[in-house]
């Protein structure tokens, strides 16, 4: 019986394994292959050559990588702080209003990210909706709020809001009410309940939300382009330029690979720390 179950499980998993292998693993291998090609050469007959990685170090491409990771980290932290109370409300307090909130947040995803960012650009630029009104009503003009690092982070926070909110709400809904009440009954203050009960028990949701926002934000380019102007160059921008304008595929591949490795390592570490089955709902307690 057991061996039949095993065979069936294997056979069931096979199609998806093949699809993932072809569509997910293959491109990664191709990228890895490209990254060790000599610069400005397109030949499959060559020895591995790490000159692209040397270029990244020498020409300062690592700076854009650091900017990307740094801004992604900032956006993740800010999103966590903003979303926690809201997610708590959705999971425990709002009741049916949660549904309204969910629909409202999901609706924003129906409009393309670029269009929404251009909307913000028009709102915040000099002579735009905000500054223009301020000047017309109060006579105080200023330079507009675009083209700096904080506004890029704002863009990341805005765009990836749902990716933090929903996993967090899911995580908080897994915290049993009676555990929180028992902790209070045993003398814990609100802060202590948050620290000892809510945060650890909602950890799977926190981890999923943080990884999603961090990974997406670290690879994002639109926010820095549309809202940030040329204030900073992010890694995704560099990759795109290398593959297109620069026609330097080995460099683009090397940059991608570094980003993938860093993000992959963070994701694997994060996922290993929490019980993902709990949030996916397989394991009944």
């Amino acid at each position: 019986m057991k061996s039949i179950d095993h065979k069936l499980g294997f056979l069931n998993a096979l199609p998806l394994t093949l699809v993932l292998g072809v569509s997910f693993l293959m491109p990664l291998l191709v990228i890895a292959g490209f990254s060790v090609m000599p610069q400005k050469v397109f030949s499959l007959l060559h020895l591995p050559d790490f000159s692209s990685f040397a270029v990244i170090l020498k020409q300062g491409y690592y700076k854009s990588l650091l900017w990307s990771l740094g801004m992604a980290a900032a956006a993740t932290v800010i999103l966590f702080v903003i979303c926690w109370p809201l997610a708590y409300g959705m999971a425990k307090v709002f009741g049916r209003f949660s549904l309204v909130l969910t629909i409202a947040v999901v609706m924003t995803l129906f409009v393309s990210e670029n269009i929404r960012l251009f909307g913000w650009s028009l709102t915040l630029m000099k002579g735009g909706l905000f500054e223009g009104h301020m000047r017309a009503w109060f006579g105080v003009g200023f330079d507009g709020l675009l083209y700096n690092v904080p506004i890029i982070i704002f863009g990341l926070v805005y765009v990836y809001f749902p990716f933090m909110l929903f996993p967090l709400a899911q995580g908080i809904s897994m915290v049993p009410d009676d555990a929180r009440q028992a902790a209070t009954d045993l003398g814990a203050t609100r802060l202590q309940v948050l620290r000892h009960i809510d945060l650890p028990l909602a950890a799977p949701g926190i981890m999923v939300g943080s990884l999603l926002t961090f990974v997406l934000a670290a690879g994002a380019a639109a926010e820095s382009k549309i809202l940030g102007g040329q204030a900073v160059i992010v890694i995704a921008d560099d990759v795109e330029t290398a593959f297109t304008f620069g026609q330097n595929w080995p460099l683009g591949a090397a940059l991608s690979l570094i980003l993938i490795l860093i993000i992959g390592a963070i994701a694997v570490y994060g996922i290993s720390k929490v019980d993902l089955d709990a949030i996916m709902g397989r394991k009944g307690r």
């Binding site: 049993p176 009676d178 555990a179 009440q181 028992a182 902790a183 209070t184 009954d185 045993l186 003398g187 814990a188 203050t189 202590q192 000892h196 009960i197 650890p200 028990l201 307690r285």
Partner: protein, 366 residues
């Protein structure tokens, strides 16, 4: 228990919108006693305990702990603590971390916390190695003990229990009831326990408070509640019982339909008096009912047809249909088993000492 009460409830009212869950509850709880509040679901006992530990606000009234008002004190500042129905153990912590939680909250040093946790494991007959065990890996009975240990680590003035045994199987529940009573004796703490199970209450409690529809119906020691219930509700709640409607007649004697009364040779005043026209209910526990062999007599005599026989382990229960179609329940120890066949006509009798009279007419037939 003559000293001042440790906890005094005065005129506790709790309303949810238009619904009044608790109607002016008064109660004194003595230091060191084991008080059980029993009632059917919806009687307000859970509401009451939530008010007492501070998880809900009361609408009116006062709660005083050793004379000091605590009803406005938030739950985490009250020196009381509760064992939840669900136990509410912290699933992400080990047994040790669960037990040490209240100490950790107070900033007790880790070494001292551990010493105390190990003492409590000993007290509750859990192996010391459980300190490192994940709480989700414990069995139902072990979790129960962990929850108790955690509550005791808090060192509360009063320990409340919200039906913590209700989810366990029968044998384990019986064992833990006794253990809990034993623990009460050893710790000397004040225990307030709520349950819908009267059996549980009888085994453990010093005093039992019976609750119905947001009011206490009777508060007394178990024996008194069992043998002298104040009304039909309590009588029926306390297990199997036979209730007979009676009515006073002239001369202080009362009349029960379908029953021959031979007290003092069949007449006169026998202590259970009802005024002429007054109605009441006669309470007789099944174990006081006897099958009368021909020639024997009793103070009260009924006849009927043996309808059913049930084995209850150490006891046998019989149902006898008396005229009018009502069922009378009789219980005998297995060694005193009655040897009649179903369908036989039998004569039942019981004596004056076994009878309790409630001055309340029977509105509802049981």
């Amino acid at each position: 228990m003559s000293s001042d009460p440790i906890l005094r409830l005065e005129g506790i009212v709790k309303r949810f919108g238009n619904f009044t869950a608790l109607h002016a509850i008064d109660l004194d709880i003595s230091e060191g006693e084991f008080l059980t509040i029993v009632g059917p679901s919806g009687s307000g006992k859970s509401t009451l305990i939530r008010l007492l530990v501070g998880m809900d606000d009361l609408t009116e009234g006062e709660i005083r702990l050793r004379g000091k008002r605590i009803d406005q004190t938030p739950a985490n500042k009250r020196p009381t603590c509760m064992v939840f129905q669900s136990l509410a153990l912290f699933p992400h912590m080990t047994v040790g971390q669960n037990i040490e939680f209240p100490l950790r909250i107070r900033g007790v040093a880790p070494e001292q916390r551990k010493i105390r946790a190990l003492e409590l494991l000993d007290l509750l007959h859990l192996p010391r190695s459980y300190h490192e065990k994940g709480v989700t890996q414990c069995s139902g009975g072990e979790r129960q003990r962990v929850a108790l240990a955690r509550a005791l680590a808090f060192d509360p003035e009063i320990l409340f229990f919200d039906e913590p045994l209700s989810a366990l199987d029968y044998r384990l529940r019986k064992a833990l009831e006794k253990e809990l009573k034993d623990l009460h004796n050893r710790t000397g703490k004040t225990f307030v326990y709520i349950t819908h199970s009267l059996e549980e209450a009888m085994v453990m409690s010093d005093r039992i408070a019976i609750m119905k529809e947001g009011r206490f119906v009777q508060i007394a020691v178990a024996d008194e509640i069992y043998s002298r219930p104040v009304n039909r509700f309590v009588a029926e709640f306390m297990g199997e019982v036979n209730l007979f409607d009676v009515e006073g007649v002239d001369g202080g004697v009362f009349r029960a339909p379908e029953m021959e009364i031979h007290v003092n040779g069949g007449g006169g005043d026998f202590g259970l008096s009802l005024a002429p026209g007054e109605t009441g209910t006669l309470v007789v526990r099944p174990e006081f009912m006897r099958f009368l062999p021909s020639g024997e007599t009793a103070d009260f005599i009924l006849s009927g047809i043996l309808h059913a026989e049930y084995a209850l382990g150490s006891r046998i229960q019989y149902e006898v249909e008396i005229s009018g179609g009502e069922m009378v329940t009789v219980e005998k120890l297995r060694e005193d088993r009655f040897t009649g066949a179903l369908g036989d006509t039998v004569v039942l009798g019981f004596d004056l000492e076994a009878v309790h009279l409630i001055r309340e007419a029977g509105h509802e037939k049981h």
